[in-house]
Symmetry: C2
Subunit: 196 residues, 2 copies
DNA sequence: ATACAAAACTAATAAGTGTTAGTTTTGTAT
DNA sequence: ATACAAAACTAACACTTATTAGTTTTGTAT
């Protein structure tokens, strides 16, 4: 076993993080034990520490991975030469697709970030505040161009982000409603509520 | 001390539940210990058990109290002879006022209900499902009367309830925005997104 | 003042926590 | 086959958890 920190090695770490995300989502970070996680990985609890440094590190990896993906997409969108409504719609659609394709991780980042240690916690909250501010700027621009209603930008951001976060809920009862209908109807509700 | 289970007695239990709600909100149910709670109440941990049966009982009382208040208000609203938009607006305004006036308890009911033991957990989830169904019925009626857009009722309920839940967030950064602006702008966004 | 129960206390229990130490197994490069 | 490190294992630690038992204090009705 000469490989130092690649292929097989990192894939086992990835497995731990993936199973960790699933476990943290269902039980919550605090209620999930390292023994629970070890069971899912198929190993004894102390063996996990050959791959990760601590329970908290798993949470950090999850939260920062999610934050980075959202930030990257926002920066892409900012660059586009679209009107405000198109930008907001693109962002909301991205949030919905993240909820669909990275459910466990997004859920954990949304619900368990507060259990991160410093300085990670502060860093994470700064990233989120920055994200909100950039979204507010898009909305402010839309208001100035009479594209949007005269609404408080922070209230609009809060409404939009909270609404998509609500998909945490839907995931469980996803019978009968197709993902497409859900996405389009939610967009319709949120965007037409915003535009003049 | 002849009083059996009234006045002073129940007010101490109420204090424990009130402090518990505050503690569970900030730390989360699982991360909050009975020793933490005892500190806040100003007593040693075992003394709490003269007033409550278990840690879980505190959570149950909080969750069911919140559920009962929402259910009562919904039933009141159903009886009114209003059009659908007015009913939905009244409900949303009630949610916002609950977030403002019973923040800790609503927060805990929203975030920590999953830690309730059976059969309370199932009972609680049934109450919530019933609440959603009744809200869906109001929206369906609004669609039939061409009052609302042709939107999937469950998606609309999810969007509305999730958006108001997002006020959990705002509470911390309540600077600069007055409660009235917040409430009115959120209503504007959500209701005009719904009506035709 | 006496009686009595509510409610505080101290001490302890059994179970579970994340994690470390030390050892053995496993798998690959030579 | 041998060497060696990655990664598994067992055993244990130090600590925290909710809760119970047993005892003492407190406060009020008589």
């Amino acid at each position: 076993m000469t490989k130092i920190k690649t292929a097989k090695n990192s894939s086992k770490k990835d497995l731990i993080i993936q199973k960790g995300a699933g476990l943290f989502r269902t039980k919550g970070f605090m209620a999930a034990s390292m023994r629970d996680l070890a069971d899912e990985v198929g190993v004894e609890a102390p063996s996990l520490y050959n791959h990760i440094g601590s329970k908290g590190e798993i949470l950090q990896v999850i939260c920062f991975k999610v934050a980075a993906e959202f930030t990257a997409q926002l920066e892409e969108t900012e660059k586009e030469n679209w009107n405000a409504a198109t930008k907001i719609e693109a962002l909301i659609r991205f949030h919905i697709s993240m909820m669909a394709n990275n459910f466990d991780e997004v859920f954990v980042a949304n619900n368990d970030w507060k259990y991160m240690d410093e300085p990670f916690l502060t860093n994470f909250l700064n990233q989120r505040r920055s994200y909100e501010k950039k979204m507010m700027a898009i909305i402010e621009a839309g208001i100035k161009k009479k594209e949007f209603k005269n609404i408080h930008p922070y209230v609009a951001v809060l409404t939009l982000l909270s609404a998509v976060r609500g998909l945490e809920y839907w995931h469980k009862s996803k019978k009968s409603i197709s993902a497409k209908v859900l996405e389009d109807d939610m967009i319709k509700h949120l965007i037409t509520g915003l535009i003049k």
